[in-house]
Amino acid sequence: MPIRKDKRERYVEVEVSGPREPLWVRCEACGELIFKRKLQENQYVCPRCGAYFFLSARERIASLVDPGSFRELPLPAVPEDPLGFADQMPYRERLARSRQETGLNEAAVVGEARIADHPVTLAVLDFRFIGGSMGVAVGEALYAAQAHAARARMPFVFVVSSGGARVQEGVLALLQMVKVVAGRELLAQNGVPYIAVLTYPSTGGVLASLGSLADVTLAEEGALIGFAGPRVIEQTTGERLPPGFQTARFALEHGLVDQVVPRAKLREELAKVLEVLAEEP
């Protein structure tokens, strides 16, 4: 399982040797060799130094919902590669590779689940799939999830792990920002609550649309939250970034989120929120 490394060395890479899953992985933040099973038990947080690894969408779902409660929603088919885009690699090939690497059809997984027995509609982005970026398919998935939540009158939970809009789909990707906000409007019209969970990373067009419009916004400890990536800001403005810039803490201090939650407590925290939101019997 290739896991990409954060520029700021807070995230770590899992060593892959040969075709078999490795037993041991190395935390590049602290150098510790970790038994893979132990890391899984610790929800991909380094047991020694606390560095956060990426969670795949499936792992994220497993970590949040009541065991066995997730039922995936079928997603509408969309035109693939609407621009006929090719950079160093044709976009179709990039999609095929991402599918093979992740076992997912696209960067979003959506479904129904229970969290501490509260029914929810859940949408989770997978950063391994072209950076969790939002193109037409992801826009459709997030719209469909919200429409489902609105219809079924279940709270909508959205776990963000995305670099932003998918460049390979051009303006069509940009306009998915409007589409997912149209979905947001459906929730509002039906009085259905929306809880966002911002993780690493929550940036660009996903943050500048649905990601910022929740009723309750939680930030996972170790999240990166910002419109523009740190490198873009440094390059464009020449500004020196203050320590802790765009971290979950920074977001909390600047009033952008309601709470910062360690990964191990996220499920519990969501349960608390859902408990308060649950309709009276």
Partner: protein, 315 residues
């Protein structure tokens, strides 16, 4: 040799012929006529078949009609409203009450500035969080008054800065999109120059989206795409082509409603013709939209964005 360069060479040759004819009294008017016809053809060709990259350059020209002078020429009256009421006022994204073709509306526009001081202050039209919070406030003014909303877009993108992040520029853009989507009156967006990413879409969730012929609308700058996807900033012209960011491309993709023609040579060659073209198009669309009931208007707008990109082969 690029077409631009070829055109320049031909123009120089024509000037030389004219000089020769004058100095030496030679009868060169046939040769001159041929040359001038060639020049006219090339000019037309050049501006009809401009490459995406050439249009990016036109869209970015500092003398491109846009900003406050454009608004003042466009409207019978404009009264500027300032400030986001929380942090400050952003000179890169401005707006106010306006009267256009007799209609009352609220107008929002990017202002890149004409002088170096203005350009510095407005960061070349890159609005920060205050700009987008102000835009949201003005959209709410328009909603309360049931005024149509007109936005004139010309920005490289929202400003990427430490203060912008601290003041939640992402949240401000999201709030603009949501507010505009719900607007209880007609909305028209016109991309005059650069329609840069989130900073543009924040003002573009409209009933009608129009573009000047050489304007661009893109998820990322060609330079940004080149350096991220090709790892080579020099392939920006290729990236511009691949991104399908021109008005004609986007009209073909069905994401914009109309391409407003520009004077041959580009909008900067004729300010008032450009303003007139935009005014006519905007008034026509406002007129069409005014015939819809509020319910029809919102349903059509909502359906447009709910389905964007999902139709076509494979769907």
């Amino acid at each position: 040799m690029t077409d631009e360069e070829r055109l320049k060479v031909l123009e120089e040759k024509a000037a030389e012929l004219r000089r020769l004819a004058e100095q030496d009294g030679l009868d060169l008017h046939e040769e001159l006529a041929v040359l001038e016809r060639k020049i006219a053809e090339l000019r037309k060709q050049l501006y009809l078949d401009l490459s995406a990259w050439a249009r990016v350059q036109l869209a970015r020209r500092p003398d491109r009609p846009s900003g406050l002078p454009f608004v003042q020429a466009l409207c019978e009256a404009f009264y500027e409203l300032r400030g986001d009421r929380v942090v400050g006022d952003d000179p890169a994204l401005r707006g106010g009450l306006a009267r256009l073709g007799g209609k009352r509306l609220v107008l929002l526009f990017h202002h890149r500035g004409a002088t170096p001081e203005e350009q510095r202050a407005s960061r070349f039209g890159m609005a920060s969080a205050q700009g987008y919070w102000k835009a949201k406030r003005l959209m709410e003014v328009a909603a309360r008054l049931r005024f149509p909303l007109l936005t004139l877009i010309n920005t490289p993108g929202a400003y990427p800065g430490v203060q912008a992040e601290a003041h939640n520029v992402a949240g401000a853009i999201a709030a603009c999109i949501w507010t505009m989507l719900r607007h209880p009156a007609p909305t028209v967006a016109v991309i005059l120059g650069e329609g840069g990413s989130g900073g543009a879409v924040a003002l573009a969730a409209a009933d009608r989206v129009l573009m000047l012929e050489n304007a661009t609308y893109s998820v990322i700058s060609p330079e940004g795409a080149a350096s991220i996807l090709w790892k080579d900033a020099k392939v920006a012209p290729k990236a511009a082509e691949a991104l399908k960011l021109t008005a004609h491309d986007l009209h073909e993709l069905g994401v914009i409603d109309e391409v407003i023609p520009e004077p041959i040579g580009g909008a900067h060659t004729d300010f008032s013709a450009t303003v007139d073209g935009v005014r006519r198009a905007v008034l026509r669309h406002l007129e069409e939209l005014s015939r819809l009931s509020l319910d029809e208007l919102l349903r059509a707008r909502y359906n447009r964005y709910r389905h964007v990109g999902a139709q076509g082969p494979g769907a």
